[in-house]
Symmetry: C3
Subunit: 107 residues, 3 copies
């Protein structure tokens, strides 16, 4: 079973405006995330907390999707930090269980 060779981790996906993206990356690094993947070409509208009522359903903003994984035992601190960030900013966060490759060579 190859999946048993993988490491169960917590995957955190955050959609924020470009203005908030550096704060998200800082939180990731402070929480011990080993890295992140960032996607541009993202637009979105209307999600809970998105745009804080500034946009109607048909308005769109240019956003960034930031994907990272953290060990389960570090997830709570990261999620808490991101929730506080999102309370004062536009954005949404998805948290999902995932299994991640961990090559044996040091990164």
């Amino acid at each position: 079973m190859s999946r048993s060779d993988l490491t169960k981790m917590t995957k955190v996906e955050v959609v924020v405006t470009g203005a908030e993206a550096p704060a998200v990356r800082d939180l990731l690094q402070a929480s011990g995330a080993r890295g992140f993947t960032s996607l541009s070409g993202v637009s979105g509208l209307g999600h809970d907390g998105y745009h804080q009522g500034r946009l109607l359903f048909n308005d769109q903003a240019t956003l960034e999707l930031i994907i990272s994984v953290v060990p389960d035992e570090h997830a709570d601190a990261l999620i808490g930090g991101l929730r506080r960030l999102l309370e004062n900013a536009s954005g949404v966060m998805f948290v999902t269980d995932t299994y991640v490759s961990r090559p044996e060579h040091s990164a």
Copy 2:
């Protein structure tokens, strides 16, 4: 446990051509989704239902990835509508359990 402060929801990811994207957004809005995230720069080929045999494995089409979350109790209606749409169109749908931030302030 910060994850207990999050809301368990059903994450729906749909990959469709630009022609089908407005119909997907209409279904999302009709199903009570509070918003969505859309990614451009997407290509794909060959998935079950993709392109309905019009493309070979090495052909690619420009597509859109639309991500949304709905409350679990609304997921069935949305999934049913998307399945009917995908029966008559190119595309694929992924449905995953996720946990979502819900800032207390109204959106």
Copy 3:
């Protein structure tokens, strides 16, 4: 319950450089994946195995995110092949359970 009309599958998301992307697609096709979705506009840094120490946390590389689903019984072979690829290359892999639409008409 519409989700019972969907098919439980293993979703594999791989972030690699453009140089490795063709090898990933070959592995997908050899593992019986019916297709894939590819996203451009991806950057990333520092994930386990990313860049093999060539980049500092603030360096970024242009990457590709490749998403595919395979039947659970084929997942191990694919995951094993991707792990071997990632041991000798930059990149990261996420493996997640998902439910997928399967239109009845042949693809």
